[in-house]
Symmetry: C2
Subunit: 331 residues, 2 copies
């Protein structure tokens, strides 16, 4: 049995899993990514978590192919994580070099959105699709684009910032400093902002009016929408409509064979996708109508990123870096 370690480094937690080439998960655990004030640096805490996984291979017939990492702020060419905004270290972490030297295993690094895209491509709704787009709706809005069977990285690895394309002229401020970015509307946080905005403009009564901005979250809004609350439903329909408009633009420009929605917000299912689907057609050229599948991912949350990262160890052509390609050794 051949297995790879997939690692998904996020701001809140770091997930690790042992995954085989069919995308089956054999083992998975996570630890808090933590903060800068901890005694043990992040990279040492990560190494401590990887060690027992590797040791577990001793004396078995299983073969460890290597380590694949998905992370934010990556420089894939250099195998480094650089000046991350939400990770507990500063400057440049040469993570591929460090893990390669520590474990003598082929180690690969790819940006988090691309890891999720590869997971969908090999094991999810993107399987067999050479041209598809994945939109991840979590705290923010992430996007991965596959073109001709290769990840669209852009000239400097900075492509795919769909979350920061403007919705329309809007005075809603984004964390990036601009106004009206798509993720200020279409994301878990965006849903809460739209709820507040809608409450301020309309007079429909709703239990949501008893909740503060800080206690409101996407899940609460979803649960009220499901129970029939008109205001909560309207918030989803506004959000879905804006997402539908942008998806229509993506289809007009890139004509993928499908668009896969993933992340926490996509778990809302039809409450979100109904207004998305109802909107798309209005904004498409006749030749693009009913051509592109828009669906929600059927992979468990995080599995796309973990299996996509792991897949780099057996399909290294998708990674722009293979820091080492010496044969797999288990230490």
């Amino acid at each position: 049995l051949e297995l790879a370690i997939g690692i998904d480094i996020g701001g809140t937690s770091t997930k690790l899993a042992l995954i085989d080439k069919t995308g089956h998960f054999h083992n998975t655990h996570s630890f808090p990514t933590g903060n800068k004030n901890q005694d043990t640096p992040y990279i040492d805490r990560l190494i401590d978590q990887i060690k027992p996984i590797i040791t577990s291979f001793n004396g078995t017939a299983k073969n460890l192919l290597g380590i694949g990492i998905g992370a934010p702020s990556t420089n894939e060419k250099m195998g480094t994580i650089e000046y991350p905004a939400n990770l507990p270290f500063d400057g440049i972490l040469p993570i591929v070099k460090i893990l390669t030297e520590t474990f003598s295993l082929p180690t690969f690094l790819i940006k988090d959105a691309s890891a999720a895209l590869l997971g969908e491509y090999y094991f999810g709704k993107g399987r067999g699709k050479e041209n598809f787009i994945m939109i991840t709706l979590g705290t923010g809005l992430g996007c991965g684009i596959m073109v001709n069977g290769k990840i669209l990285n852009g000239a400097n690895g900075l492509a795919g910032e769909l979350g920061h394309v403007p919705v329309h002229l809007s005075d809603r401020k984004c964390g990036c400093g601009k106004y009206g970015c798509l993720e200020t509307y279409v994301s878990a946080r965006g849903l809460v902002r739209t709820a507040l905005d809608y409450m301020s403009k309309e007079i429909i009564d709703s239990p949501l009016r008893k909740l503060s901005f800080d206690t409101l979250d996407a899940k609460v809004i979803y649960e009220h929408a499901k129970k029939g609350d008109e205001l909560a439903q309207k918030v989803f329909s506004i959000t879905g409509k804006l997402l539908g408009q942008k998806i229509a633009e993506l289809i007009t420009l890139l004509e993928p064979s499908s668009i896969v929605l993933a992340g926490g917000l996509a778990e809302a299912g039809a409450i979100l996708t109904d207004p998305v689907l109802a909107t798309i057609d209005q904004f498409l050229l006749p030749m693009h109508k009913n051509l592109v599948q828009v669906t929600c991912s059927n992979l468990p949350v995080n599995h796309a990123a973990l299996s996509g990262a792991a897949s780099l160890t057996w399909v290294s052509s998708q990674s722009s870096i293979s820091y080492t390609n010496h044969p797999t050794k288990i230490i």
Copy 2:
């Protein structure tokens, strides 16, 4: 000397040229594409134009590599032009099969926007750029996208319709049936529409007010703008601003290394590009600022499409079809 015949089929005229692998033009001529009422069908008139070119090779040491065609409404996989809106024939024309059988030469077909993209890629501002976008501003707005050194065609060859992405909520009707499409603003015709709209809203005097919609064209507006007419300049600045906003979206999403503007309207130069460049930065993420080159093509008008079409005969990997790949024979 190795040469190829490049053909650019347009609604008004069909251009033919003999081009070598360095992109040098040895011979070029054109004939009116004509209409459906002509006695001789279009394909026969085209064959009559190709014949003397091929005959001219007799008794020379020159080698004819084949024929490359750029056309609208192509089905590249089948080598056919299908139900064209602006060409003088109906239904499906199996142009690759007919020309291959007539001349026993390798013949390739690609859509017009892709031919122009390849011309820029091999001989123009896209040279050496694996990720770049070409925007052609003519009667309408065309777009070609290169990703990882391959043309982005979309899942069914229907990608690149940047002209039909909405600018913003607008009541300006497009030929496609939708409202507010980018090409209703950013194109030669769009410029005229914006001039009328602006005249209707503002009270600035201008010689343009003496001209009817039908006599106004992009060239007249350009000439008045160059002479300092405030209204004409304002029309270019509105147009450039809208184009700049969309280019910023393209950069945010696709991060090409450069964006090349071509076509008649791009010949306006700084009058158009100054407002484009001034607008882009406002809509970009900090990491994307000053990263992407936005320039006008330096190839003569039509040369990009002709040389791109011709290049298919020596770089057939960019074409999705090679109807025949038997060795070049001259008949």
